[in-house]
């Protein structure tokens, strides 16, 4: 292991444990900034899409990975964000403000869900979020007022600082910038009392209460923040797909987001990003594979579903700490070489007692 010799509290508070890591992240940032100049516009668009997915993933990770509240209907917040963005732009509101509105709207609905959800635990909350997102999707596809009287809503394509938006390099940099900002904000929260309160809520709500964490307020805040981030992602997503139907934000999207969080590794912001990258690369990969398979198997939607399922099962069974966990283990291997022990990360056997009273 690389040992950190600590001489001040600031080292603990700092975002990165080792100062050398700054160079790596700077290099990554430089590479991502230079990419649009080097690769074709198609790939730039794909990468921008992955950034958007990553934003949504980080939002869900905050709620599920760090606060322990399982949300099976996060797509609903993206839906709200997307529609608000479309309406706002259509009403002539400039782009940055429309994004803020999207976030506020989604966040408000998040609070609305968070407050009654206070009394619900784990499984019940998960099911409630699922029902909630179904209702939201239904409302948006049936209420003429929300869909502006169309079966689909077109998203305006505004100019920002003189650059045409939708799908181009402007979109890429905006998505990248917002992703970096979102990650920074979340990391800040996590090294401060609010973030710790989230973790406390996840690991032991009872102890959290006895330490002064107001469960109600904290849950509502977690929902609000995570929903607002989802709304932001949804607003950006709207520009990518440019015509909105409520069906594009159905349960499958919510479950894809959940997959990103699980595959990436719960309880890790890095994991959220890795999960989004993984899933973002998986779809095009499936499309490629399809061409090489006989037509009976190549029928795409079935293949995609089956692969999603198998990936999810694989990760839960064999890589429970996700990609970020695997990455940490690989790093530990190289740092401890040649005295690495596989048992370092083995978990002890656990027996579960029922949480039911009877």
């Amino acid at each position: 292991m690389r040992y950190v010799f600590k001489t001040s509290h600031d080292q603990d508070i700092h975002l990165l444990r080792h100062n050398r890591d700054w160079w790596w992240y700077a290099a990554l940032a430089a590479a991502l900034a230079a990419l649009p100049l080097l690769i074709s516009p198609y790939y730039v668009g794909e990468l921008a899409f992955i950034f958007v997915l990553a934003i949504a993933s980080v939002g869900l990770m905050l709620l599920t990975g760090f606060t322990g509240l399982i949300s099976l209907g996060h797509g609903a917040f993206l839906l709200i964000g997307a529609y608000v963005e479309a309406h706002a732009l259509g009403a002539g509101i400039p782009l940055p403000l429309s994004l803020v509105l999207a976030m506020l709207a989604a966040g408000a609905v998040g609070v609305l869900l968070g407050i009654p959800a206070l009394r619900l635990t784990g499984l019940y909350l998960a099911i409630a979020t699922l029902a909630f997102s179904e209702i939201v999707e239904h409302l948006f596809s049936h209420w003429k007022f929300l869909s502006a009287g169309e079966t689909f809503l077109t998203v305006p394509n505004p100019r920002v600082l003189g650059v045409r938006f939708g799908g181009g390099t402007g979109y890429y940099y905006l998505a990248l910038g917002l992703l970096a900002g979102t990650i920074l904000v979340c990391l800040n929260l996590l090294r401060a009392p609010t973030g710790r309160a989230f973790i406390a809520l996840r690991d032991s709500p009872i102890a959290a209460e006895t330490l002064g964490v107001a469960l109600a307020r904290t849950k509502a805040l977690a929902f609000a923040l995570s929903a607002a981030i989802g709304g932001l992602a949804g607003a950006l997503y709207a520009h990518k797909i440019s015509t909105l139907t409520a069906e594009s934000f159905n349960v499958l999207l919510s479950l894809q987001l959940l997959m990103m969080v699980v595959v990436g590794g719960l309880g890790s912001i890095k994991g959220a990003v890795l999960g989004a990258v993984f899933l973002g690369l998986l779809d095009p990969a499936i499309a490629r594979i399809k061409d090489y398979l006989p037509s009976s198997i190549g029928e795409q939607s079935g293949l995609q579903l089956a692969l999603y399922g198998l990936v999810l099962v694989f990760f839960v069974l064999f890589e429970p700490s996700g990609l970020s966990g695997r990455w940490s283990k690989i790093k530990a291997y190289f740092q401890a070489f040649p005295i690495y022990r596989r048992a370092t990360f083995k978990r002890t056997k656990a027996y579960m007692t029922s949480e039911r009273m009877r």
Binding site: H9, I13, V185, N188, R196, I199, D203, E209, T210, G212
Partner: protein
């Protein structure tokens, strides 16, 4: 005036009288222990004081103010911290994060400034960590500072939970079977810490305990409960000679 005054406390779970008309007072600076056979209602009393349960009847005054008026998350602001019989640690967090959560009631920042990590948030963080260092020194947790709680041995985890409670700078500390599962060495350490907490930190302790050697060593006064009722109280030695107490432990 007593620091904590419990009057006529009663709590029923269905038809079972878990706590039946229990009254006692804890004076500032003393170590007050509740003992009794299993199922006597001792932990229930602690749970009511920390407001995780609501009593059917009775009154609890802390520092002259009605404690039952406080919500569960407001108890610590009044100055009461607790540990749990079966440990309620934050398993997937480090020891440091657990201890820092003990400081939550001393939080001075709001989530907006935390999102931006303004300088005053940084200053507050440094302050919290300074205070937690004092706890780490006191309980000798240096080695485990950055370890994930989930992998630590049982004895260490009990100490972490104690540390977490101490980090909140309580005036009254509720300890629920602090010696359970500890070996003789660890129990001896615990006795020292209890004495130090009272002498150096000015903390009053209300504890539930089964280990009678420990009880005798550290307690100023003892309350014996059986089947929800208080059956004897006084100094440790005299209480253990009381025939009612002996009968309660050995069974009629």
């Amino acid at each position: 005036m007593s620091l904590l005054r419990v009057e006529d406390l009663s709590l029923w779970f269905g038809g079972v009288r878990a706590v039946d008309g229990v009254s006692f007072a804890v004076e500032k600076g003393e170590v007050f222990t509740i003992i009794g056979p299993n199922g006597a209602g001792k932990t229930t009393v602690i749970n009511v004081i920390s407001r995780l349960l609501y009593p059917r009847a009775g009154r609890i005054d802390f520092d002259g103010r009605d404690l039952l008026a406080a919500p569960a998350h407001g108890v610590i602001a009044r100055g009461i911290a607790r540990t749990f019989q079966n440990l309620e640690l934050f398993e997937h967090a480090t020891v440091m994060q657990n201890l820092l959560l003990g400081r939550h009631r001393h939080r001075t920042t709001d989530f907006v400034s935390e999102m931006l990590f303004l300088p005053r948030v940084r200053a507050a963080e440094r302050e919290h960590r300074e205070r937690v260092e004092a706890v780490i020194d006191f309980l000798d947790l240096h080695r485990h500072r950055d370890s994930l709680v989930a992998g630590l041995p049982y004895g260490v985890r009990k100490i972490v939970e104690l540390g977490r409670a101490l980090a909140s700078e309580p005036r009254l500390l509720l300890l629920d079977e602090p010696a359970a599962g500890l070996n003789p060495e660890e129990t001896a350490d615990l006795a020292f810490w209890i004495e130090d907490m009272v002498a150096d930190l000015g903390i009053t302790i209300l504890m539930v305990e089964h280990d009678l050697a420990l009880v005798n060593e550290v307690s100023d006064r003892v309350l014996v409960m059986n089947q929800g009722q208080a059956i004897a109280r006084g100094a440790p030695a005299e209480v253990q000679r009381d025939p009612k107490v002996i009968e309660a432990y050995l069974g009629a």
